[in-house]
């Protein structure tokens, strides 16, 4: 395939990845990297660089929409960003010394865990503001969430475990060039027991900030190939926008089953590729 058809094919794949990501609640980054590696034969390091840039683009767009609605908890986002950014820098430094095959294996495992997390039984553990962790109160983390009956206050728990979990989410983001949104949401709604609506919005605010912490290292190591970043970032951005528009009318349950199955198979293939097994 010659230019410009190769880039157009990549852009088309990126639009699909972004759209599917938005529809099933995974980021486009975690889907586009294996597509580039397995489908287009692109080196995993270039794929991760392009995916990370697309993560920043979509997170900025999505976070903007949530901010307007006043659901994001900016204090929680900034406080936890201290953990994710430091983790992301460490992860990116680790990524540049690891072998591409090892990265492929870790990526495949992270994909499988991500699928597991999105299949888990959703349980909103949030409760009244009075029961907050004293440290959360000191940091002024508890806030209100808008409801039809006016703003409703909520508590924030487990500040230290949540913070430590976020360091891990940051490392994964820097190591694999993903937004690690699924991990961030779990840390906030299961460990810190923040309401779902707030965790999704706040994680979008944080994903871009986290990704920005490792992208500079990717840049200096030459992971950002402009001719790959451009079609991938633009494609995922357009796809995510279309996906968000389709969300209210799409058969989300069926799509989730179909694509999470596909993502699991891709995860296994990434692991097999790392071990140099072909099937």
């Amino acid at each position: 395939m010659t230019e410009p058809y190769f880039d157009l094919a990549i852009a088309a794949a990126a639009v699909l990845a972004g759209m599917i990501g938005a529809l099933i609640g995974l980021g486009g980054g975690v889907i586009i990297t294996p597509v580039l590696v397995l489908g287009f034969g692109i080196d995993i390091r270039y794929a991760m660089g392009a995916a990370l840039a697309s993560v920043i683009a979509t997170s900025s767009g999505a976070a903007a929409a949530y901010l307007r609605d006043g659901i994001s908890n900016i204090r929680v986002g900034l406080f936890l960003s201290m953990a994710t950014t430091v983790g992301a820098v460490a992860g990116a430094m680790l990524a540049v010394v690891l072998d591409a095959n090892v990265l492929s294996i870790i990526f495949g495992m992270a994909l499988l865990i991500t699928v597991g997390l999105s299949l888990r039984k959703q349980k909103d553990l949030s409760g009244p503001a009075a029961n907050s962790d004293p440290l959360a109160v000191k940091l002024r983390l508890p806030d209100t969430v808008p409801t039809p009956n006016g703003p409703k206050p909520y508590a924030v728990h487990g500040v230290i475990p949540g913070f430590l979990f976020m360091i891990v989410a940051g490392v994964l983001s820097g190591l694999l060039g993903i937004g690690s949104g699924a991990f961030k949401v779990v840390a906030m709604d299961q460990v810190m027991r923040i309401p779902f609506k707030v965790t999704t919005a706040t994680s979008n605010f944080m994903i871009g900030v986290t990704a920005a912490a490792s992208v500079g290292i990717y840049l200096k190591r030459g992971y950002l190939d402009p001719t790959l970043v451009a079609p991938v970032a633009l494609g995922v951005l357009i796809g995510a926008f279309l996906g968000a528009r389709l969300l209210p009318v799409a058969p989300v349950k069926i799509l989730k089953i179909v694509f999470l199955t596909a993502v699991s198979i891709i995860g296994v293939q990434m692991i097999a590729r790392g071990f140099q097994i072909n099937f």
């Binding site: 900034l78 030459g222 951005l237």
Partner: protein, 123 residues
């Protein structure tokens, strides 16, 4: 900091910045492809990137050097760097917002995050 005017101006900044960066990337990609019709892609085997694409300042300088090889790719990278600066602006905005409200704790926290971003990006 909870005021809706702050949140909506931050939202506008983020959306506007993203769209502006995306437009530059699109322009750079079209410009690049226009001179590479019929070429075989082949550039996706890992070899790192030329030095001028590895630092933001060198890139902007290079994009202006119209007679040199690779300036069309530099234009894409200028757009990519603008895209990457968006989250940094988001945090910088928070530093000033909290400082204006004399909120020492949160201007400190945002400043820490901004420092991590700036060091990893420009160092």
């Amino acid at each position: 900091m909870k005021t809706s005017s702050f949140q909506s101006s931050l939202a506008r900044l983020m959306l506007g910045g993203t769209l502006f960066a995306a437009a530059i990337i699109a322009l750079g990609l079209v410009w690049y492809l226009a001179s590479h019709v019929g070429d075989s892609p082949g550039g996706h085997i890992f070899s790192g990137e030329p030095k001028f694409l590895e630092s933001p300042l060198a890139m902007i300088h290079h994009a202006g050097q119209l007679h040199e090889l690779g300036h069309r790719r530099s234009l894409i990278m200028v757009g990519v760097v603008l895209l990457l600066l968006n989250p940094m602006l988001r945090v910088a905005f928070a530093v000033f917002g909290y400082a204006a409200q004399k909120d020492a704790l949160y201007s400190g926290i945002s400043l820490f995050v901004l420092a991590v971003l700036a060091i990893s990006f420009f160092w």
